[in-house]
């Protein structure tokens, strides 16, 4: 399986994503933001970081960079595009997934482990996943998902919510919401489910010595689904 990770000026989880994808069997290529063409890929990842220093609005400048036109075309033709953290912020700025990401509710950067509940397995990302609750890691300042009532209605009708923040047992009450996100939303799909944006970083949980191993479960399942 071939993957591409885009490096924008200010990306800082690009290497971590490269390490994770390679560990689980992807043949990964790093792609520079100023390139025109995507290499042939089965998966394109927009990594975390602070592209363009988060200036103007998180993700907004990166969404206009040269490579993004081919990423958008790739997504529209059904290709798998996954945005993690800042990558999610870039995805909402392109309009590939609906909504916006606001500043965290308590106005502070949050770096910690969280639990997320996987609610939709009819897609290439979570199909066949044998767990419903994953322990992943978040590290962000703007992860407070928000959209309009109309958008939310449409998101629900199309089953576009991918993961919710929850506790270890899967409860999704307000107190399990780390950043004020609407309905505890931690990740969301486009209508067709080939584009996924999420705040948690699975690439930071791929080894027993790190914060945990649920990221490994996610990546192993993902590559098996693509085979």
């Amino acid at each position: 399986m071939k993957s591409s990770v885009i490096t924008f000026p200010g990306s800082n989880c690009d290497r971590d994503m490269d390490v994770a994808l390679s560990k689980f069997g992807f043949k990964n290529k790093m792609v520079w933001h100023d390139d025109n063409e995507l290499p042939k890929s089965d998966l394109v990842v927009l990594p975390g970081g602070f592209s363009y220093g988060d200036y103007l609005r998180c993700g907004s400048m990166a969404s206009k960079s040269k490579i993004m036109q081919s990423v958008i075309n790739f997504a529209k033709s059904g290709g798998l595009v996954m945005g993690i953290c800042n990558g999610f912020q870039i995805l909402v700025e392109t309009g590939l997934v609906p909504g916006v990401l606001l500043r965290n509710k308590y106005l502070e950067f949050i770096c910690k482990n969280v639990y997320v509940k996987v609610v939709n397995k009819q897609n290439p990302y979570f199909k066949n996943l044998d767990k419903d609750i994953l322990e992943l890691h978040i590290a962000h300042n703007e992860g407070n998902y928000f959209c309009t009532d109309d958008q939310l209605k449409e998101i629900n009708e199309n089953n576009q919510i991918a993961i919710y923040y929850c506790d270890e047992k899967g409860h999704t009450e307000e107190q399990h919401n780390p950043n004020g996100s609407l309905k505890n939303i931690a990740g969301i799909f486009n209508k067709e489910k080939n584009v996924l944006g999420m705040m948690p970083h699975p690439e930071r949980m791929i080894d027993q010595s790190l914060s945990g191993e649920d990221g490994s479960i996610f990546f192993k399942n993902l590559i098996n689904n693509l085979k």
Binding site: F50, F109, A139, S209
Partner: protein
């Protein structure tokens, strides 16, 4: 052009005799640009004029030291052609005036020092100290500093893996912000600041030069008074995004062989960077200031030379490599300009609008800079307090424990470190909140441990002992995670060197640091001195911060402090003598501020520490934690909280009062957890090494059982320990 005389020199922070010396050295009156350059190079911050004499006493060499003090940072060998570059630096004065930017640029500055040497930063740490929680400025300063440290480090994508925070009224008017960075480099790809060769192009890269931070280094060399707010314009403004680009661009250029010397523009900007490179290479340097990329129009030579705009580097390139280098900096959207060249004049010559605007022999700025043997006063060892059992009789252990665990200097600092990205780069295997932070050396089985420590109260009570203690504590924190300690960096925060008592504190703390690091073979490879941490006449408590670095050869053998398994045995290594003076218990429960700090026995420190490493090497240790502030029971409580397990303590065979046993702060002690089946082997090793040990108890489910009458649940311990800071910041 402004005329220069003694009055103008004094306004630049120079003393009349220093001004006279400048005129004598130049054999003329300097012009205003030259005066600015002298004032920047000769201030305390850049010249170490009051400290140089004493810093020479520090041991700086060992088999593992590749580069000691004198470069941008120290470098140590961690085997297999890998090396770690590290340093700690203060940004105290700017952080008090403007906490966000002050702290942010402190973090930015230290990371630049590290990647200037060719190393990719892999971990950040910090040591931050604030006034009393009741002081009305404390909360905002803390919030601003934490946001600033996070804002910069998080954006750079470098994990912040450990730190230290304390509150003490002596910092009410003068907070401390010390930032430390570790970087990883191949031993054969280390870059230095020594220029070499004639007519080599001098390159300016990074951000444009603006009017921010002019005279920042001079500000950092003065005390605060009522007009401190007026100094806000001298605080630099950081842009971590540009620094991230600068990091990637520099590392890309460093892959080749284009660079002869490289130096970041930190304190005193273009002035100190160009002069340092020329001085180390015994060369001259000429710069055309019209070629310096400027952010604002009509900047004068004086302003260009003294600006402390951030995210800038000066590079001496090989001839003919300009185009290659320019392509890299263009790719990263950074300014690039050839601004001058090396010469054989041994002078720094500056040109502006085709006129020479400064011409100063480099050696007058560096070798001939002033050096003072300041007067200092030796501190007496305070008399011990005589506590009687009746002093303790009314105290209930549980109440004391609650007060100590929730004390602002002991309580959990999660509110702070949760705002720092501590997991980016995917190699953090011990997060903040442990004895040391630990990151793996990417792609290897090795890991590097780092911790930062200070004990201002001990240093204040007796500087010599305090200096030793901080080094010993750093050593213990590394050993507790299974790392072999290699070297330290120090950030020496003190009051005015012109005050005999403050100067005495400095001299004796340095003496203590020196003795301990010599004995423990734990040399000092880099550091920084910050004097004039005082408001009006009152100095801070002497606060040397020690950043220690150690190596874990197999990261799977790393130890953490959380209790692991029910029925495992818990032992204490090192002898409990019941030293209560200067303990947190004495100060907060008895309100007794006098007395000597606990004695530091370097033989025991070394022997106990090395014995614990031997036990770890043999896989006997399941968890370990050193005993420091708050004593034995505090340390045990933290192991319970982290591991979510309890312990049933056995009745101590010790004859002293329980309070003294549980809350004294004797040094050289660790708590360890072992499997019952390993007890005899562990005891054999401890006895062989003549290490004092006692059996403390056995791990149980969810209660700390102190004696038959006193039990505390783990949930209670957690609530004591975790709430104070969160509540304080939201109140």
């Amino acid at each position: 052009m402004m005329l220069v005389n003694e009055k103008v020199a004094i306004e630049h922070g120079l003393k009349p005799d220093e001004y006279k010396k400048i005129c004598d050295l130049l054999k003329r009156v300097p012009n205003i640009t030259e005066l600015g350059i002298f004032s920047a190079m000769w201030n305390e911050h850049c010249s170490y004029k009051s400290s140089r004499l004493h810093l020479k006493k520090l041991p700086t060499k060992s088999k593992k030291v590749i580069q000691g003090p004198g470069e941008n940072a120290g470098v140590i060998d961690i085997e297999d052609n890998d090396a770690i570059v590290f340093k700690i630096e203060s940004h105290n004065h700017p952080s008090f005036i403007e906490p966000y930017q002050g702290a942010a640029t402190g973090v930015g500055g230290i990371m630049r020092d590290v990647f200037t040497m060719g190393a990719r930063p892999i971990a950040n740490l910090n040591s931050i100290h604030f006034g009393s929680p009741q002081n009305k400025k404390t909360k905002n300063l803390l919030r601003g500093v934490v946001h600033g440290i996070g804002g910069y480090g998080n954006c750079m994508g470098v994990p912040t893996i450990a730190g230290q925070t304390s509150f003490d009224s002596s910092y009410n008017g003068n907070i401390l912000v010390n930032a430390m960075t570790l970087g990883l480099v191949k031993k054969n790809k280390i870059f230095y600041s020594k220029a070499a060769g004639l007519n080599k192009p001098v390159i300016y890269v990074g951000s444009k030069t603006g009017r921010d931070g002019i005279h920042g280094a001079s500000m950092a060399s003065a005390s605060f008074d009522d007009k401190i707010e007026e100094k806000k314009p001298t605080v630099q403004v950081g842009d971590p995004f540009t620094e991230k680009l600068l990091l990637e661009a520099c590392l890309e250029l460093m892959e080749g062989d284009s660079i002869i010397a490289i130096q970041d523009m930190g304190a005193a900007g273009l002035t100190s960077s160009s002069i340092e490179m020329a001085s180390k290479g015994n060369l001259g340097i000429e710069i055309d200031l019209n070629k310096v990329p400027c952010r604002e129009a009509k900047m004068t030579p004086y302003e260009i030379m003294l600006s402390e705009s951030q995210e800038r580097m000066l590079i001496v390139l090989e001839n003919g490599k300009e185009e290659h280098a320019k392509r890299i900096f263009d790719k990263w959207n950074l300014d690039f300009a050839v601004i001058g060249q090396t010469t054989n004049s041994k002078n720094i010559e500056l040109f502006f609008d085709n006129e020479q605007v400064a011409n100063i022999p480099v050696n007058t700025l560096v070798e001939n800079s002033p050096m003072y043997d300041r007067k200092w006063k030796k501190a007496k060892l305070p008399k011990k307090n005589k506590f009687k059992n009746v002093d303790f009789n009314n105290l209930k252990i549980k109440d004391v424990l609650k007060k100590i665990l929730s004390n602002h200097n002991v309580c959990s600092k999660e509110w702070i470190w949760q705002q720092y990205d501590h997991t980016v780069m995917g190699d953090t295997i011990q997060k903040p909140g442990g004895d040391s932070g630990v990151v793996r050396v990417h792609g290897t089985n090795k890991a590097v441990a780092a911790s930062v420590d200070s004990s201002a109260v001990y240093c204040w009570a007796h500087p010599l002992t305090g200096g030793k203690q901080v080094v010993a504590e750093s050593w213990r924190n590394l050993i507790s995670v299974g790392a072999k300690p290699i070297a330290i960096t120090n950030c020496l925060n003190f009051g005015s060197p012109e005050n005999e008592e403050n100067m005495g504190e400095f001299v004796e703390c340095v003496q203590g640091i020196s003795e301990a690091s010599k004995y423990l073979e734990f040399p000092v490879v880099s550091g920084n001195v910050s004097f004039y941490n005082q408001t009006k006449e009152v100095g801070i408590k002497p606060t040397p911060a020690i950043g220690g670095v150690g190596l874990i050869k197999d990261y799977k053998k790393m130890i953490s402090m959380n209790f692991k398994e029910i029925n495992n045995l818990v032992l204490i290594i090192g002898k409990t003598e019941g030293h209560i003076d200067q303990s947190l218990f004495a100060r907060t429960i008895l309100d007794e501020k006098n007395g000597p700090p606990p004695e530091v026995n370097l033989f025991n420190e070394k022997n106990n520490g090395e014995s614990l490493l031997e036990l770890i090497e043999n896989n006997y240790i399941k968890s370990a934690h050193d005993i420091s502030l708050g004593g034995l029971l505090t340390a045990i409580s933290k192991m319970c909280i982290k591991g979510n397990k309890g312990i049933k303590l056995s009745k101590s065979k010790n004859l002293m009062n329980e309070i003294e046993y549980f809350f004294s702060e004797d040094q050289g002690r660790y708590i360890i957890e072992i499997k019952p089946k390993d007890l005899s082997e562990v005891v054999k090793i401890l006895k062989k090494n003549s290490v004092h040990y006692e059996e403390l108890g056995i791990i149980i489910d969810n209660e700390l059982v102190i004696n038959q009458k006193t039990k505390v649940t783990i949930d209670e311990l957690k609530s004591y320990n975790t709430n104070w800071l969160k509540n304080y910041m939201s109140s």
